[in-house]
Amino acid sequence: MRVGRGLVGAVAAVLGAAVAVGCAPVQSKPVGGAANSPDHATGTLRVWLFDEANRAPKEAVVREAAAEFESAHPGVRVDVQYVQVDSRAERFKAAFNDPRSAPDVAEFGNTDLAGYVAAGGFADLGADLASWTEARDLTPSVLDTARVDGKTYATPWYVGVRALYYRTDVFEELGLRPPRSAAELVETARRIRERRPDLYGISVGGKYTYAMLPFLWSAGGDLARRDGANWVSTVDQEPARAGISRYAELLRDDVCPPAQCAQMTGSSSVQAFAAGKAAMTVGGDFNRKAVDAGVAAGKYAVVPLPGEREGSVAPAFAGGNLLGVLRGTERRTLAVAFTKLLAGKKYQRKMFEAMGNLPTFTDLQREVAEGQPFQRPFVDTLAAGTRFVPATPAWAKIDAQAVLPTAVQEIATGAKTAPEATRAAAERMNAAFRS
């Protein structure tokens, strides 16, 4: 009954602690900042990377980097743990609440950055990047996704952007050409559905915010602007509203009927295209495998998503993952050095070869597009300049509350007019910014 006795002891400890803690909510013990933490030059460097369904190629590259690092730093062992993307919220919260179980270096999604920084989780790497020569070649708009309030908290590891997938056989049959402007995109989608009513002109969804944002940005609008220390929503102002309305035009019976499309997400939009139900969709370089597995395989091509102006490229949302150093680390110098190694050009090239992850260095992007024609439209989209969501923890809330999908759905279903829906969205965004 050793376990039994341990159980009793454990619970008794809890009760004791409850009494001792007293009458305020529990908190973690304060995390040591850079100033009072030690900076060991040896020992175990703990690294968290995201797990992948097919992890072997990623693991091989990382193991190679770790071996290189260990031989350059005697007495150092790199311990890599793989974290499921879907469990990241709990994992990182646990790491921030219990620094002892936290890693030194971690991979994470760039949309999570603002929340992690607000929680005091990551160290400012601005000075470290400034003294790193390779960092000069980082694509500026991608490096922006690692910044909060002007400080850089991570280095971009790879980037993902979306472009326009279209069915070459359908376009040929109907004598169409890939659209060269947002207006032409809507027109083309309508003509396809008119002549091929079994297809959606383009499959996009009310919940596919990353497909909607390029329309909003290319119309000259933005999600929010800085006003001193605060953010103020701008989605109810004319250019943004026009962009959202343009996108909502796609969610009509004559393109992609709201009954089916109002609830579609990014992956269900791509799924409909892959299943042969749509003539076009908005998809990322990371969606290629799904499309190639469906009936659309071999019958599609990709071009950058057209913007408002004829021949322009709509600014894409720059998704991707970053590598950062945790603020509570006791091996800051080593952690920064390993981050530079793994996120450097050499290993980004290897990661592209292993996993198809688009590099974050402009010169490297151009290089990989040469060898892989499929990557061309995505690299061109990157080159045309990407945008990002407001770097504030409030964005996580706005995203969770489905503020923008709700507005798009309201316009698409006719529940509200565009001015009403965008005004309501702006109010909810502002409430989130204030809280």
Binding site: L7, R91, K93, S101, G294
Partner: protein, 282 residues
């Protein structure tokens, strides 16, 4: 059951099989999806069969690194939780049914309240509790299987107590009085008479505890970050991606997760209901 009329039975049995078929259909679809090649999982022509079955999806799940370890961890956690929860909840149920004392009703309602709180709201305070526990008894601390056993035990107890209470209450008091007349101690009566009688009730509550512990994603990802203590659901989480979920693999993994529960149920059903209850009644 002799009290039933015979003529209606054939019809009832046909109906039972039809209903079983309807209930099982989504399960069949899950297994089918797991066996379909990737392009067929969602296609414009859904078919209740596949001409090109493939083990690819199962293969992807089974080769998630650490799968065997995760599986073993899950089995250990679920079985320990079921065993502890049966004993603890049976004792508590007897106390709450057979003994009269002040505050009994309050305790019973408290057990209900404990189940009403949304679990998500409790994870942060629980996390801190587990950290304190870990400082005194490391086996039960964060990152150890013991932490999962403890939380699942805590979350399955209130229900199990309520459940068993119903069964204990259904045992006629006369039986107890007769035992008392025979000179049986309360302890002996509890274990040798009462426990076997409520065995059918133990099935429902142990299956439920098992399923809760077995299928849990939330605690598994909150309290355990190291790979050696992770449980099975985390092997499936790998296939959830913000941009593109791998449904074939998720269905294969879910199929693999459902099978042990069925096995557990069949075992429990045979041992407890047919064995114990039958012995007592016979």
């Amino acid at each position: 059951m002799r009290w039933l009329r015979r003529p209606g039975r054939a019809a009832a049995e046909v109906l039972t099989v039809v209903i079983a078929g309807v209930v099982a259909f989504p399960l069949y679809w899950m297994v089918l999806t797991a066996l379909k090649p990737e392009g067929e999982v969602l296609s414009a022509n859904p078919r209740p069969w596949t001409l090109a079955p493939t083990w690819d999806n199962f293969h992807r799940v089974l080769t998630v690194s650490g799968f065997g370890r995760f599986f073993l961890n899950s089995v250990v956690v679920a079985l320990v939780v079921v065993a502890l929860s049966l004993v603890l909840s049976f004792l508590a149920a007897v106390a709450l049914t057979r003994f009269r004392f002040r505050g009994r009703t309050v305790l019973l309602v408290m057990l209900l309240v404990a189940q009403m709180v949304p679990v998500e709201a409790l994870t942060i305070p629980l996390f801190f509790v587990m950290r304190i526990v870990g400082e005194t008894a490391p086996v039960f601390g964060v990152n150890h299987l013991g932490s999962l056993v403890l939380v699942h035990l805590a979350f399955s107890l209130p229900f199990a107590v309520w459940m068993l209470r119903g069964f204990v209450a259904a045992v006629p008091v006369e039986l107890e009085e007769a035992a008392a007349l025979d000179g049986a101690s309360r302890f002996r009566f509890t274990w040798q008479v009462l426990f076997p009688i409520v065995a059918p009730g133990l099935v429902a509550s142990s299956v439920l505890s098992f399923i809760h512990a077995w299928n849990d994603f939330l605690f598994a990802k909150t309290f355990v970050t190291v790979e050696e203590s992770q449980t099975l659901p985390l092997a499936i989480l790998v296939f959830f991606k913000p941009d593109q979920n791998d449904w074939g693999a998720i269905m294969a993994g879910s199929t693999l997760m459902t099978i042990p529960v069925l096995v557990f149920f069949v075992l429990v059903q045979r041992r407890l209901v047919s064995g114990l209850a039958g012995a007592v009644k016979g």
